[in-house]
Subunit: 125 residues, 4 copies
Amino acid sequence: MKIRIYYEDTDAAGIVYHANFIKYCERARMEIFFRNGFNFHEEDSNEHFVVRHIVSDFVAVAYLGDLLDVTTKVIERKNSSVVLKQNILRGEKLICSFDIVMVYVKNLKAIKIPDKVFEIMQNQD
Amino acid sequence: MKIRIYYEDTDAAGIVYHANFIKYCERARMEIFFRNGFNFHEEDSNEHFVVRHIVSDFVAVAYLGDLLDVTTKVIERKNSSVVLKQNILRGEKLICSFDIVMVYVKNLKAIKIPDKVFEIMQNQD
Amino acid sequence: MKIRIYYEDTDAAGIVYHANFIKYCERARMEIFFRNGFNFHEEDSNEHFVVRHIVSDFVAVAYLGDLLDVTTKVIERKNSSVVLKQNILRGEKLICSFDIVMVYVKNLKAIKIPDKVFEIMQNQD
Amino acid sequence: MKIRIYYEDTDAAGIVYHANFIKYCERARMEIFFRNGFNFHEEDSNEHFVVRHIVSDFVAVAYLGDLLDVTTKVIERKNSSVVLKQNILRGEKLICSFDIVMVYVKNLKAIKIPDKVFEIMQNQD
């Protein structure tokens, strides 16, 4: 998953605004599903992941025009939640790193992650 | 309606990112309803305004820390749509100006603007 | 230029937030330069385009997961400004359309558009 | 520090997009400085805080129209960094909670936090 940095991503300090990196992580997570033919608009929109916990390390800055990579790795799977490690890099250089716990919900209540959703994440692994 | 400019609002050119001004216009439109006790979350969420047309003039730039004013004036009312003039200023200085046509929809189909919604906009006038 | 719609792009009405389409137009304009090896970070960051005027028509809505196209066409060239037509489509369906006037500035003062910048836009034409 | 939730803050799941809460934390941090007459635009723009580390807990969801509170508490002060606890609440209800490490930089290199900056944060305490 490649992320290009546009003006909208940067701030007056001349660097990528820190909260935006967390958006890029979600883009990468969603692309895993898009690449597997998952159609969020046709699916039951009451069911989806919500982010419960994120540990974020911002180790270097990124700039306008950068082309960043986002990597996603499933660390642990539970009944209704999943633990991911996501890194954002520019070439070999680590920009920031995230440990993320996501919970699968229906109408905002935790439910077992459906097999179809599980398999897509496993294929990515 | 006062809008403070934070890092998130600016870009690497050191100024407010142009598309953000259009967000501030919507904040000001929504505050008219909030000030009148309108609860968007309790209301039928299938009914709301959508923006159909905007003419935007960006005449000056705004900076980190600026405290801007947004003015909203109803120019014309039709059955299912309304024409607004919104200006964004820093003190007396005009930063940008917008002519906006909004259509009231239910499930994304145009319907007559409800009287309750009309009255709130009239009070603002 | 393809734009994928993620959660960050949508709002509680279940559709793409209108001001975001204006960001996608800028992404498409910047990609023209990126594809031509233009490095915004290395270039004199005091020189760039600013958006002066936009006429926006929002004719249809877009949804989570959509893959949109942005087209960019130079309509008119002047000394320090350029008029563009940008359309956003889902397949053949027009979602929104923009007439955009951009001014080339150095330290936020209008200057003649440099030949190198002009040529990149011409190649795109 | 009050944060109103507008359409721009929500996503197609009908709730506030998680990364946006991290923006509200920064708004609250900046308001501490604005309330103390600090002018970011006039100050040396090469000097500012950057976010190094965030532990985020998202414990409840927020909705369109909500009026949230952001609290900020200095937990620990070091030479060039500071540890903050920020909570976002709707009334008494905790929505999310953040442990944040920020580093003071000049031209993106860590330097001692200036006394003037320290004092403003102390007054807030």
